[in-house]
Amino acid sequence: MSGLLSRRRAALLLAVLPAVRAGAAGVASVTIDNFTFTPAVLTVAPGTRVVWINRDDIPHTVVSDARPPAFRSHALDTDDTFEVVFDRPGRWGYFCALHAHMQGTILVR
């Protein structure tokens, strides 16, 4: 049931995107499940909006591992989402500041 709800929310996000940001090349998503970012490495084109969705019943964060962080979410509760538009090519590592063993990478090229 919660999976269905998440899908509906994701679909809603897709539907409203063009109005939110003109020129976005597309949307890609990372799900958080069982204390894991999936996919662990996501490759996207420049201009892509990446959406993280927390499907755990424990909060997580999405924090760039650059110093200072290039992006940083607040704590994402269950079904909360966080978005970043990646304009420039590069390799963006990130982790969960609550559970630092959780790591992921966005490859923009």
């Binding site: 069982n34 204390f35 424990i58 909060p59 982790f95 609550l98 559970h99 630092a100 790591q103």
Partner: protein, 306 residues
């Protein structure tokens, strides 16, 4: 060291509900189950440990975390401890209304309580709201560091913060600043001073794959090694775990909110679902008694309900 003893010291003892144990000369010894004559606490400094109340969490298996915290506190009050330690994750999301509920429920007991933060309490403004509310009146080891020490009836209590500024890919961390403070703090105490060290994330590696450990805990433990009696109290993993290493006894407490799976027994460390009627069997509080002049410290873990 013979094989049996090595095995005893290297393995983690999984302990069920309501077991009383003491540590004597570094060897844990079970005295009996709660309710037997042997389980009566000896006179001395008795204090309680509660942990992981996660106020704000309201999902399966517990939609009433204030209710289970209150039940835990009722259990503590009935035991008349001299004080209470809360080993972190007071709240679920560091929100002011969550801190409010915890502060009111715990404050209503009238029991002096010492707090250290869990990662769920450190989500906003580098932990300042937590320090301002739950550590006011403490002598902070560093400005807003979230760590401090105090003395009580000859026992030196050290509250450490291993949830701040975590590094990508790492586990819990104390950091160079806190380790330097700990060294200075302990320097003023003789080897015979009993130590109680409390921190949220375990100060030894319980399960690296789930981040259940502290990256630089070995440096802290090295500073503790010269003391004759050291008790390390942690939370975070929502289950009882005990280990003895030389003069150092480790104990993790149950949560007052929800249980978590034993290390590696589930795809992830999320809340363990239990039948509604059985929830209180896996939540609980710990009561600790330190008797002066004796080398043992007794720990009694009590579930909220059986």
């Amino acid at each position: 060291m013979n094989d049996g003893r090595r095995q005893l010291l290297s393995c983690m003892a999984w302990v069920g509900t309501g077991l009383l144990w003491t540590v004597s000369g570094g060897v844990p010894r079970t005295l009996g189950l709660l309710g037997t004559a042997a389980a009566m606490p000896a006179p001395g400094l008795t204090f309680a440990q509660i942990s992981d109340s996660h106020i704000g969490f309201a999902r399966d298996p517990n939609t009433d975390t204030p209710g289970t915290l209150k039940a835990a506190l009722d259990l503590v009050v009935a035991q008349h401890p001299a004080m209470m330690l809360h080993t972190g994750d007071v709240s679920h999301l560091s929100r002011p209304e969550q801190f409010d509920i915890a502060e009111q429920l715990i404050g209503a007991t009238g029991i002096e309580t010492h707090y250290i933060p869990g990662e769920h309490d450190w989500l906003e403004d580098d932990g300042r709201p937590f320090v301002a509310r739950f550590q006011k009146g403490t002598k902070q080891g560093a400005p807003d560091g979230g760590f401090y020490s105090f003395d009580r009836e000859g026992v030196h209590f050290v509250g450490l913060n291993n949830v701040a500024d975590l590094k990508p890919g790492g586990m819990g961390a104390l950091g160079a600043r806190q380790l330097a403070w700990l060294k200075t703090d302990l320097a003023g105490h003789g080897d015979s001073t009993p130590l109680v060290v409390f921190a949220h994330i375990p100060l030894w590696v319980v399960y690296k794959e789930w981040g259940w450990g502290t990256d630089d805990s070995a440096q802290a433990l090295a500073l503790l090694r010269r003391f004759g009696s050291v008790t390390v109290l942690n939370g975070h993993i929502h289950q009882i775990l005990q280990k003895v290493e030389g003069n150092v006894a480790f104990h993790t407490a149950r949560s007052t909110a929800f249980p978590q799976p034993a290390p590696g027994t589930a795809p992830g460390p999320g809340p363990l679902k239990v039948e509604p009627g059985r929830l209180r069997e896996v939540l609980g509080v710990a009561s600790l008694t330190f008797t002066r002049g004796q080398s043992h410290l007794a720990v009694v873990d009590t579930p909220l309900g059986a």
